[in-house]
């Protein structure tokens, strides 16, 4: 039998899926153990206990200067920035994406501009943002919004254009005005795809967040990683990276669940 026609059983699938994770953990464990047994003060591959010690300090001990529990305040401020940036981006993409996808005049007005704009590498705008809006929250939120909005706007406009023409004609033969078609036909069909677009956009959003925090911030997950890098504190960097990964994964799962709950009629064509 050809290998493309052999499918692993459920149990084997779980085993195969977890294999790379286990392999990476074991490889790290061995490497860490070897380095630490040669030099107990080694900082490059800290042991799990070292990481836990470092993290418990950040999680459960008040910072002397600010009085915050740094890990949690870092998480809160980063999530806040991410939420604001994505919120703006979702609002822009929904309003302009639907208009551009549905109304030919607005398509002519918006689409070429957005396509040109989306070619600008967002990170190169960061200095401009620092100059224009300053070094505080606004510049980080704007970077996330600028980085993800064109992407999401194009996804939304495409989703509108993918609605079969027959359906739009049908709505008109039922007497629908443009506004009624937008609210009762177009938006409901676009919202599940907006969630898909948001899941994809979260990946660059995290990159822009961490970059902006690394360059100019006094708090946040990205700030902390780049701060402790100066002391080679891998015992903080590695747990932070894992934490960011976990957060991103949880967000993705929540959005996928939200999509299934809110839009039971929507079945994406491709497997997730």
């Amino acid at each position: 039998m050809r290998i493309i026609n052999r499918h692993p059983s459920r149990g084997l699938y779980v085993l195969l899926a977890s294999l790379p994770f286990i392999a990476l953990a074991i490889a790290y464990g061995i490497g860490s153990y070897q380095r630490l047994s040669i030099n107990p003060a080694d900082k490059i591959l800290p042991s799990i206990t070292q990481m836990m010690t470092a993290m418990s300090e950040l999680m459960f001990v008040q910072d002397k200067r600010t009085g915050d529990y740094l890990f949690w305040s870092d998480t809160a401020i980063s999530l806040w920035r991410l939420a604001c940036g994505m919120g703006i981006s979702i609002a822009i993409s929904l309003v302009f994406g639907v208009a551009a996808g549905f109304i030919p005049w607005i398509r002519a007005l918006v689409k070429p501009f957005v396509e040109a704009f989306s070619l600008i590498p967002p990170i190169t705008i960061l200095p401009i943002l620092f100059i224009l809006v300053g070094l505080d929250e606004a510049s980080k939120i704007t970077l996330i919004a600028i980085g993800t909005a064109p992407l999401m706007l194009r996804a939304v406009a495409l989703a509108v254009e993918e609605i079969p023409h027959e359906m739009i004609v049908k709505a008109q033969t039922l007497g629908a005005s443009t506004w009624q078609m937008i609210t009762r036909v177009v938006l409901p069909q676009v919202l599940p795809k907006l969630i898909v677009a948001t899941r994809f956009a979260l990946i660059p959003a995290w990159i822009f967040l961490v970059s902006a925090e690394a360059i100019a911030a006094v708090s946040g997950l990205g700030y902390r990683i780049f701060l402790v890098r100066r002391f080679l504190s891998m015992d903080v960097i590695i747990p932070y990276v894992l934490w960011i990964t976990l957060l991103a994964w949880l967000m993705d799962i929540c959005l996928a669940m939200l999509q299934r709950r809110l839009f039971p009629w929507f079945q994406p064509e491709s497997k997730s």
């Binding site: 079969p164 027959e166 359906m167 004609v169 049908k170 709505a171 008109q172 033969t173 039922l174 007497g175 629908a176 005005s177 506004w179 009624q180 609210t183 009762r184 036909v185 409901p188 069909q189 839009f263 039971p264 009629w265 929507f266 079945q267």
Partner: protein, 268 residues
């Protein structure tokens, strides 16, 4: 009463003449089947009736008034696919026409107005045999059920004329016969005027009161571009079918052999 008049319709795409000199008067309550080989312009003609396309010359009058150049409520439609909204339940799909009509801004009805609309929608759903499925989404329905839903949805808005674009073409033969019977019953009971495009001759004669065959008079490659299709045959189906009488009351739909031969000659 509805009369649809097509006056000297020509349709050209650039140099290509698609339709020429189409003159049809469609009486109220008739069921006109448009047949013809593929590429003869029958779907183009339907699109012009819908308002999606405009004739290059000639006029289309609905009750003496030129058609609006865009689709509107006075012309209902059922397509072969994508005729119902996937995000609305069966009941929601039928209600939506009334909601568009009565609620200009929200497009939704509440309270007693909604209840009245729901009652009408349920009556229609019952007449198309979907009364037990009102809370399902279209994806959970079979192809035949989706087309019956599309019919109920179009009829809810009470269009002056119902346009059908090969509505039963994608259905299995058994299901198709079932939907034919339903279509005939709806036409009889609701007193609607129908124009249907089909490539299925037996369907045309079974359902139609009048069969119009479109054909290119000249089909040689060097002539093809400059001669469009026109009406080759305009056949009153015999025996005549009557509306406002229940289906099955001695309405024989067998096609007299001479007409069948004539019509197949028109198509081949």
């Amino acid at each position: 009463m509805t009369t649809l008049v097509l006056e000297k319709i020509w349709k050209e795409y650039g140099d290509q003449i698609v339709l020429e000199n189409i003159d049809i008067t469609i009486e109220s309550g008739s069921f006109v089947a448009l047949v013809g080989p593929s590429g003869c312009g029958k779907t183009t003609l339907l699109k012009m009736l819908l308002g999606e396309e405009r004739p290059t010359s000639g006029r289309i009058l609905l009750d003496g008034v030129p058609l609006k150049p865009e689709p509107d409520w006075d012309r209902g439609v059922v397509f072969q696919r994508y005729s119902v909204f996937p995000h609305l339940t069966v009941l929601g799909n039928v209600l939506v026409g009334r909601e568009f009509e009565k609620s200009r801004f929200l497009g939704r009805l509440f309270g007693s107005r909604r209840e009245a609309a729901v009652e009408d929608a349920r009556t229609l759903l019952k007449s198309v045999g979907l009364a037990d499925h009102e809370n399902k989404y279209p994806a959970a329905l079979s192809g035949g059920m989706q087309q019956r839903l599309a019919l109920a949805q179009a009829l809810m808005r009470k269009p002056k004329i119902l346009l059908l674009d090969e509505p039963f073409g994608a259905l299995d033969p058994g299901i198709r016969a079932e939907v034919h019977a339903l279509m005939n019953q709806l036409w009889v009971e609701q007193g609607i005027t129908v124009v249907m495009v089909t490539h299925d001759l037996s369907e045309a004669f079974r359902l139609g009161t009048r069969v119009i065959a479109l054909e290119r008079r000249r089909n040689r490659p060097e002539e093809k571009e400059r001669y469009g299709a026109t009406i080759a045959h305009d056949i009153a189906v015999w025996p005549p079918k009557k509306q406002t009488k229940l289906n099955g009351s001695a309405i024989v739909t067998a096609t007299p052999p001479i007409l069948a031969a004539d019509a197949s000659a028109a198509v081949h």
